[in-house]
């Protein structure tokens, strides 16, 4: 562990060989399917249907990407998801930090009651149908609000934020600020928030990825195709195989060619739709780990 120069015993050496072998297998099992998807997406349609593509593109081509760029449904889904994600993340993060800050203050009377109100929603819920009926009665269906409001506050994230405030901001700081005549809102905006950039980053990523990856709210609350988020469009195209719009672009070709093209396009769509999250992955990795740590301290 600590001492790299320590001499390994025979059994330890065998252990390390098997240990590293195990890790290499884990790496292969996770990496190769991903590599294959990327390789297929950059291959020619004929190579894809002939089953030749393993981990490198065969007869590299961009035809899959070229075709999906012409698909309106997909691009509108991309744009919708972008709007839902930005708006939803703003609302969620704002609600979460303003909710977590009072709970982190020792002078806040009623802390226990409020905490319990939030906690109980993690243990019990009204279920899918009553929630759906509420959204329907509020006339929020087919609006952007159905995408961003019902799950705006994730209680788990609120508790992570509270734990962060409790652990990083000493009580003395609040007391000093109060003596200087700062009110509670001023303390929040001028002292707490500037000290909380790491937790803000964690929350932004948690919420943004959650909203970007969600298809189900779109499925139950939206009926107009022009409002569908990307994940719902993907579901219809990739899983329900509704490729009509896409196929129109390639009409005039014979059936087997269309099928081959569809196959490549599916891979291209998978890569294209995962691009935003993958570009953020280095940050995600850094901050998600931090978020998990804060969460587990409180556990």
């Amino acid at each position: 562990m600590a001492n790299n120069k320590q001499i390994l015993s025979h059994s330890d050496r065998i252990f390390h060989i098997f240990n590293n072998l195990f890790l290499i297998i884990c790496f292969i099992v996770v990496f190769f399917p991903l590599a294959n998807v990327v390789a297929q997406s950059f291959s020619s349609p004929a190579s894809v249907v002939s089953g030749k593509v393993l981990f490198l593109p065969v007869k590299p081509s961009l035809i899959g990407y070229k075709n999906i760029m012409e698909d309106r449904e997909l691009l509108s889904g991309f744009l919708n998801s972008f709007i839902y994600t930005v708006l939803g993340t703003l609302i969620s993060v704002a609600l979460t930090v303003t909710g977590a800050y009072p709970l982190a203050r020792k002078t806040f009377a009623g802390k226990k009651v409020f905490t319990w109100i939030f906690t109980f929603t993690m243990i019990f819920n009204g279920g899918l149908i009553p929630t759906y009926l509420l959204v329907k009665d509020l006339n929020m269906r087919d609006t952007v609000w159905a995408m961003v409001l019902p799950n705006a506050v994730a209680v788990w994230n609120l508790f992570i934020a509270r734990a962060f405030f409790e652990n990083t901001i000493p009580d003395g700081l609040y007391e000093a600020a109060e003596l200087d005549g700062c009110n509670d809102i001023r303390i929040f905006t001028s002292i707490v928030l500037p000290l909380s950039k790491p937790i803000l980053a964690v929350l932004v990523l948690f919420y943004a990825i959650g909203i970007w990856n969600n298809y189900f709210d779109g499925l139950i609350y939206l009926t107009k195709a022009s409002k569908f988020p990307l994940q719902l469009v993907l579901r219809n195209v990739l899983i329900k195989s509704q490729m009509q719009t896409i196929l129109q672009a390639s009409s005039g070709q014979d059936q087997s060619e269309i099928m081959a093209l569809t196959e490549v396009m599916k891979y291209s769509i998978i890569v294209f739709s995962s691009l935003p999250v993958m570009l953020l992955y280095p940050f995600i990795q850094k901050y998600f780990v931090k978020g998990i740590m804060i969460g587990s301290v409180k556990g």
């Binding site: 390390h16 149908i129 298809y215 189900f216 990795q285």
Partner: protein
């Protein structure tokens, strides 16, 4: 001002005592802005979580949209009886439980082993690479994950391409309902093992290094260190994850199952929550499906308390 002076002098102690010194109402008045700040999130939870809890009474009523939650006629336990006596009930319960337990058993050991293994490797760059790659699938959306499974198993997918290298004939695994559960569970392990491993690695990093020094002096082998230091060290974390997963045993990932479901595998893939979705939102039987949803929530709540109680009693580790 006297009260303020006392606060300064005694510092935190005074603040900690709720009833001390100034009266409660004074404290509330002084910190009214805190209540203003918590209001939006509180309202959000009350509207979107507590109103549906109140609305769940439609499970006991014959809900008619025009009459609302309160106006619809009371029918008592009718819908519960309908559900328990329907031929679907045992099938749904068995599918839900078997998928969850299978998932629970598969997803518990793999991340533990991965974390212990990562913790032992001496090549830092290698460790980082494996961690980065195994963690990545966690951020793939459910829709994309299921599409990858479909593409992977398709006649032109990776699996058949690999089998082709060895001259094995093409197989269509998606059409085989017997494999549905394994596909669901192991794709879940593939997606989440890296994520849980990160949690265990954090726990491993917190183990007191003196323990390792003592073990080293005693001449313990690596395997002995893992068994006698690492495993006990992360046991509380394992138990907490077990509690959380056991409590949600009825709440399988229905959003994923819904995507993987088709006519061929319905017999093995239909679970309580996908049934609630179908009956409620596709067949528009609001009351009936609310009753099933409520049944699900209540059992989950009992399980949550039950498992937590057992953990507290037998292992000294619990959520509270």
């Amino acid at each position: 001002m006297a009260a303020a002076d006392a606060v300064i002098q005694k510092g935190r102690k005074v603040l900690k005592q709720p009833g001390a010194g100034s009266s409660l109402s004074k404290r509330i008045l002084k910190h009214w802005q805190l209540y203003l700040l918590i209001l939006p999130s509180l309202l959000s939870v009350i509207i979107f979580k507590y109103i549906p809890m109140y609305g769940v009474q439609i499970a006991f009523r014959d809900y008619q949209p025009a009459k609302g939650f309160m106006g619809s006629p009371w029918v008592g336990l009718k819908y519960f009886q309908d559900f328990f006596s329907s031929y679907q009930f045992s099938r749904l319960l068995i599918n839900t439980l078997s998928i969850s337990i299978y998932s629970l058993l598969a997803l518990l050991p793999v991340p533990v082993i991965l974390a212990l293994s990562l913790n032992e490797t001496r090549w830092r760059f290698f460790k980082k690479s494996v961690q980065t790659i195994t963690y990545a699938p966690y951020f793939i959306s459910t829709v994309v994950l299921v599409s990858i499974i479909f593409q992977f198993l398709s006649p032109y997918g990776l699996l058949n391409n690999l089998l082709g290298l060895f001259g094995i004939e093409k197989v269509d695994l998606m059409a085989n309902p017997a494999l549905f559960k394994s596909l669901y569970v192991w794709s879940g392990v593939w997606q989440q093992a890296g994520y849980y491993a990160v949690i265990y690695l954090a726990a491993l990093a917190g183990i007191n290094s003196e323990l390792y020094e003592a073990a080293w002096i005693d001449g313990a082998s690596t395997l002995q260190k893992i068994i006698h230091i690492d495993l006990p060290g992360i046991m509380p974390t394992i138990i907490i994850i077990l509690i959380l997963n056991t409590a949600s045993i009825l709440n399988v990932d229905y959003q994923k199952i819904l995507l993987m479901q088709n006519q061929l595998n319905m017999e093995v893939s239909d679970v309580i929550s996908t049934y609630v979705y179908r009956q409620g939102l596709v067949s528009v039987q609001y009351s009936f499906s609310s009753a099933i949803g409520l049944f699900n929530s209540v059992i989950s709540m009992i399980l949550f308390y039950g498992v937590n109680f057992m953990a507290r009693k037998y292992s000294e580790t619990s959520l509270w």
